[in-house]
């Protein structure tokens, strides 16, 4: 060994228990490697696992995810509207395995941030040097009186894709013409801010085409909503007599439900729905609370330079579980945060300090089967928080020829193909 190679980085690597990979004469020494564990194999976690492995091939990367199949939420509103097959939403982890990522097909049940271990349901304990959490959301069951797990079998949320998506689709198919569909929208923050309104547009398209006497009512706990001018324009142009919405200031917030009788109650009235889609209030996935990385809001505060938890050392949180506003809770954001987080963990383990950068988000929403609009944001993480860059971002133009809406629908498809390919492909 010569001094030329013994730099600050090497010292830090050995101090953190991460010995540098090297052609040492003693093979055992080369066995000591960074143990990187990722919880949750969605858009955030699967991407993070891949990028950690790519950036640090001599580290061990373990992904804990209980489900063999992942059902993507983006484009699932098309499935609900009968425009797409659920099988196109399904992805797996074979490509990750082939890259040398260890998949633990189990649920993480606890995290000990002091001992730096994760325990899984089967009873095993996994040690880590760095842990990345991307558990997505959990619902606040009971926040709407009467809306618990069992209620979701009658009034689906369809806010985690899979069987719930199919259930809502089947209910719409079974509904008689002339029926009333109700979508209940929770207060912010929630996963995919424009998602409920994309869903309303696409269900309205289905109703207009197949059940023209039917109506759709949005009961909304928000006053304002994402892409509002674009959605409202589309609703009056495309579905003038189909969609109606009560915002929070018009007593739109649902406070209780009676699933067996199909009744949703606001503070003002009781409404009987033929199909009720209740999107419940949300919080970070339960494991984030167990790990002590969620705060009183139910979400996880992070340092946006590397998405490290501000509450626990050696834990990073990405995706929907984080407090990253103005970055929305989107698959685009989760995927980008994962890449940034993986590279910054690499930097940290190499003794480098993460530098500020610029991040973006783009979310497309369908208005009909072949038109879409988008929202774009550009953010800096330079000042300890994420902030929108003034003068950038925004919505698709309000006055636009059809070709622009068609193009954005095609872009959305390409985006879905690219992002799912990067995450799972």
């Amino acid at each position: 060994m010569t001094d030329a190679f013994l730099n600050r980085r090497d010292l830090l690597l050995s101090l953190s228990g991460v010995t540098a990979f090297a052609a040492l004469p003693f093979p055992a020494a080369a066995q000591v490697r960074a143990r990187l564990v990722v919880i949750g194999g969605g858009f955030g976690g699967a991407t993070a696992a891949r990028f950690l492995k790519r950036a640090m091939p001599s580290a061990s990367v373990t992904l804990i995810e209980p489900n063999a199949d992942y059902y993507a939420c983006p484009f699932s509103n098309l499935v609900i509207a009968g425009m797409r097959d659920l099988s196109k939403q399904r992805f797996g982890y074979d490509a990750l395995k082939a890259e040398g990522i260890d998949i633990v097909p189990d649920a993480a049940v606890d995290v000990d941030p002091v001992a730096r271990t994760v325990s899984v349901k089967s009873g095993d304990t996994l040690p880590y040097d760095k842990l990345v959490l991307s558990p997505g959301i959990d619902f606040r069951w009971g926040a709407i009186e009467g809306y618990d797990k069992a209620a979701a079998d009658l009034m689906p949320h369809a806010w985690k894709a899979g069987p719930q998506t199919v259930l809502l689709r089947k209910q719409l198919e079974a509904m008689e013409d002339g029926g009333l569909v109700v979508i209940s929208v929770p207060p912010a923050p929630f996963r995919c801010p424009p998602g409920p309104y994309e869903r309303a547009s696409l269900i309205a398209h289905y109703l207009k085409t197949h059940k023209p006497k039917s109506r759709l009512l949005i009961l909304d706990a928000q006053d304002k909503f994402s892409k509002q001018p674009l959605f409202e324009q589309a609703w009056s142009d495309l579905y003038p007599d189909v969609i109606e919405r009560y915002g929070a200031n018009e007593f739109g917030r649902v406070v209780s439900v009676a699933p067996a009788s199909g009744i949703l109650s606001t503070e003002f009235e009781d409404i009987r729905a033929d199909v009720a889609n209740v999107i419940p209030p949300q919080q970070a996935g339960a494991i984030a609370h167990k790990a002590g990385v969620a705060d009183m809001t139910g979400w996880c505060p992070i340092d946006p330079l590397s998405f490290s938890s501000t509450l626990q050392p050696d834990i990073h949180v990405i995706g929907d579980a984080t407090i990253a506003s103005p970055m929305p809770k989107s698959a685009f954001s989760a995927n980008l945060q994962a890449k940034l987080c993986a590279l910054q963990i690499t930097a940290i383990l190499s003794g480098q300090a993460p530098e500020p950068t610029t991040l973006t988000n783009t979310c497309y929403s369908y208005l009909s089967d072949d038109t879409a609009v988008s929202i774009t944001g550009v953010y800096t993480n330079a000042d300890g928080t994420l902030q929108s860059v003034p003068g950038s971002g925004g919505l698709s133009p309000l006055m636009a020829e059809d070709i622009i809406r068609h193009n954005e629908a095609l872009q959305a498809r390409t985006w879905f193909h690219t992002i799912t390919g990067q995450t799972f492909g």
Binding site: F5, M56, P57, T358, T360, V378, S388, Q411, W415
Partner: protein, 114 residues
């Protein structure tokens, strides 16, 4: 002799990001024994945002394969300065400085190759 476990060049990550191709760029940095490298430079991190949409296959979103840095720079600068434009790229580029655009263009041209 000790070698750092993490080697940095301007290539492997973007290859993973946007392209299935495997060739290395001419003479940027040394690879380690495994041939695996990670680029932690500011331009590489800045360009992460591009990779969510710009895949190798193109489609309705342009592929960046085979573009020179000048080609990329000119179109990004056009998006930034064209005040009437409403596309995703117009709205996005207004948030980037010319220095950012220079860095991204050079990086993408070097790292996204056939």
């Amino acid at each position: 002799m000790l070698k750092p476990s993490v080697k940095l060049t301007a290539f492997a990550l973007f290859t993973l990001l946007v392209s299935a191709c495997e060739s290395a760029p001419a003479g940027t940095q040394t690879e380690d024994a495994s041939g695996e490298v990670a680029d932690l430079s500011a331009p590489a991190i800045l360009a992460l945002s591009c990779s969510g949409c710009h895949g190798p296959q193109g489609g309705a979103i342009a592929s960046l394969e085979g573009r020179t840095s000048d080609q990329i720079r000119l179109s990004l600068l056009h998006y930034k300065s064209d005040v009437d434009g409403g596309s995703v790229m117009h709205r996005m580029m207004r948030g980037y400085t010319e220095a950012d655009i220079d860095a991204i263009s050079t990086y993408l041209a070097e790292s996204v190759t056939e």
